[in-house]
């Protein structure tokens, strides 16, 4: 490069950056009037927040939320219903608040998404064009992965892993069970929706049985050797359900909850729905009075038919935008996406929705997206007065979504009953605030 060439080069470089800086200034200032059509598929913890925050950030956006159910039933805190502590109605929400905010709420089934034509097709041949689509379908069950367990079998052997009629079915079976009965909960390998959920479920069912049917047992058949908040759960189980004694006869029934890890033959690969029997991979049979199968899971069906999943059945995304790495202009949030260090939880879906919305808004305005921020907080109840939690803050490092070091974590192991009780109160406040954030 000669001297004069270099001079020209420098001139043009500074010219370009000046123009870029000016351009940025203009589009930032003009940020008010962004026109685009965004379709959100799925109205749960992720999709509802995405729709609402899109509209809050840019009232001029056309936002369509497509959800098959008219009412949403929260999975978080639905284990309380199994213990007779809560009413499913208190976990049920309508979409009227979103409609009032100018979001078009469509109750229908999404049949297909065409990422090339940018169209979402619903039943009856109707379709919606989009500039961006946010896909938040949650999980689907891998029917048949456990031999003998399909959708039909779930009508008598509940999974209760999507809240609603399934929750009521399981609650009724537990209520109808004889004293001295055995409740079996089968737990899949990671990753799955709500990692601490099965262990909270065991605790809350135990809370009910201890008072009503103290001779009964709960067996967790696990496809893993360790689990979420394990130390805190084991402590709580022992403390409250480790030494059951009959109030009338003072008879000792011992420990109510038994956890069978994979290494001890806990992993099951078949059930017999008629005899309520679970068969482990090592050939052991476990006979239940109430059998609750939490099946292996993958991303919701629409993610598969749209070609958004990896070979394991989850949707890989760019963690800074939650845009699919398989299709442009398609963002996947919540349980369906590969969440890196983030668990498949309601709070994680909520947090991911906001990152996706910020990225979409920035892209529509033609500016760089904000550096993202992510958080998760999950409460579990062991009794109505004993709550525990886990929380984490995340960041993107070398393209991976990882926890910020030396932060977050689970509740301390050595705290007072008062501390555990406050965590229960916070769990309830959490439900109130996060559902108000969604539907209010």
């Amino acid at each position: 490069m000669t001297n004069s060439n270099r001079r020209n080069f420098i001139k043009s470089v500074s010219g370009v950056s000046l123009a870029a800086a000016m351009g940025m200034g203009i589009s930032l200032r003009a940020g008010a009037a962004v026109k685009a059509k965004i379709v959100v598929v799925g109205g749960g913890y992720g999709g509802v927040i995405a729709a609402k925050y899109l509209k809050m950030a840019e009232p001029g956006l056309e936002v369509v939320l497509i959800e098959q159910n008219k009412r949403y039933v929260s999975c978080p805190l639905s284990n309380e219903v199994l213990a007779g502590l809560g009413n499913i109605e208190h976990l049920t929400f309508g979409y009227e608040g979103l409609a009032r905010r100018g979001i078009t709420v469509v109750h229908d089934t999404v049949e297909a998404i065409d990422p090339q034509a940018r169209k979402v097709m619903i039943s009856g041949g109707k379709s919606f064009d989009y500039d961006r689509v946010i896909v938040s379908p949650g999980v689907d069950f891998k029917w048949g992965a456990i031999k003998g367990y399909d959708e039909e079998a779930s009508q008598t052997i509940p999974h209760a892993w999507k809240a609603g009629p399934q929750t009521t079915l399981l609650a009724n079976q537990i209520k109808d069970m004889k004293d001295g009965g055995v409740v079996i909960i089968t737990v899949p390998d990671n990753p799955f929706r709500c990692p601490p959920g099965p262990y909270e479920r065991a605790a809350l069912i135990a809370h009910y049985l201890k008072q009503n049917k103290p001779r009964s047992k709960i067996i967790l058949l696990d496809a893993k050797d360790k689990f979420s908040k394990q130390g805190l759960f084991l402590q709580g189980w022992t403390q409250h359900y480790g030494d059951i004694i009959s109030e009338s006869s003072k008879e000792k029934y011992g420990s109510m909850i038994e956890w069978v890890p994979a290494s001890k033959g806990g992993e099951i690969d078949a059930i017999n729905a008629a005899t309520r029997t679970a068969m482990s991979v090592v050939g052991k049979e476990f006979k239940a009075d109430v059998l609750n199968v939490i099946p292996p899971q993958h991303a919701g069906k629409i993610a598969h038919t749209t070609g958004l999943v990896n070979p394991k059945g989850w949707c890989p995304v760019d963690f800074k935008t939650f845009e699919s790495t398989m299709h442009k202009n398609v963002h996947v949030i919540g349980d369906a996406c590969v969440g890196g260090a983030m668990p498949k939880s309601g709070y994680a879906a909520n947090s991911q929705a906001k990152v996706a919305v910020a990225a979409i808004i920035a892209s529509l305005r033609g500016v760089d997206p904000d550096e993202p921020a992510y958080l998760n907080a999950c409460y579990s109840l062991i009794t109505p007065e004993h709550g525990i939690s886990v929380t984490a803050i995340y960041q993107v490092k070398d393209g991976q979504l990882v926890e910020v070091p030396n932060s977050g974590g689970v509740s301390p192991i050595d705290v007072s009953p008062a501390f555990r009780k406050i965590e229960v109160a916070h769990a309830k406040s959490w439900l109130k605030n996060i559902t108000t954030e969604m539907f209010g």
């Binding site: 001079r7 420098i10 001139k11 470089v13 500074s14 950056s17 000046l18 800086a21 925050y53 809050m56 709070y347 909520n350 947090s351 906001k354 990152v355 910020a358 760089d368 904000d370 550096e371 993202p372 921020a373 992510y374 958080l375 907080a377 939690s389 929380t391 984490a392 803050i393 910020v404 030396n406 932060s407 977050g408 974590g409 509740s411 501390f419 406050i422 965590e423 109160a425 916070h426 309830k428 406040s429 959490w430 109130k432 605030n433 996060i434 108000t436 954030e437 209010g440």
Partner: protein
């Protein structure tokens, strides 16, 4: 030639500041992650979660730093606060400070509130001015319209000798006050919106 050098310096300066800004997380991005527990823009709708939208920036910043170093007791906030550096705490505090304060929708007992007013005038007014409605930029927090349950969680701890919470009036007020006095005081703050 001199002009061109200045131009290059300007371009480099621009790109550096752009890079710093791109690496920083905005207050709204950070603040929105709190909404699941504290409500949209910090307007908590639930009684144990304090309203933080419209609270003073200095107070919010101090609270987060105290949670982080353990000098304020918590069940979960200590673990959460450890995830943020000073710059991020400052940014999220500024975000919440500029939000409107939305008082808690909670029932109040007018008779108790009247009793509480006397205690307020005697012991609280000097710092928590204007009936506790003031959220100073760099002073004590707003208490009027706050969820009484969240205030009680804080106060229960102030009264516990083992608790980390330090309040300037710990000895003079809370050590001597009866439960009835505190109830009345909380009703006074609940009645002022």
């Amino acid at each position: 030639m001199r002009l061109q050098i200045a131009g290059v310096a300007l371009a480099i300066g621009l790109s550096f500041s752009a890079a710093t800004q791109a690496g920083a997380v905005s207050g709204s991005m950070l603040g929105n992650t709190c909404a699941g527990c504290h409500g949209i823009n910090g307007a908590s709708a639930a009684e144990t979660m304090p309203i933080i939208g419209g609270q003073g920036k200095g107070y919010l910043e101090t609270a987060m730093k105290n949670y982080r170093d353990g000098s304020r007791a918590s069940t979960i906030m200590g673990r959460i606060a450890k995830g943020y550096n000073d710059e991020q705490i400052s940014a999220m505090s500024a975000f919440f400070a500029k939000q409107p304060w939305v008082s808690a929708a909670q029932p109040t007992d007018a008779k108790l509130a009247k009793q509480g007013e006397k205690l307020y005038a005697k012991s609280c007014k000097m710092c928590h001015a204007n009936n506790g409605t003031k959220a100073a930029e760099d002073g004590p927090p707003r208490l009027a319209g706050q969820w009484t349950t969240s205030l009680r969680l804080y106060l229960d701890c102030v009264n516990d000798a083992k608790c980390a919470n330090k309040h300037p009036m710990r000895e003079q007020l809370f050590g001597k006050a009866s439960k009835a006095d505190i109830d009345a005081l909380l009703q006074f703050f609940a009645s002022k919106k």
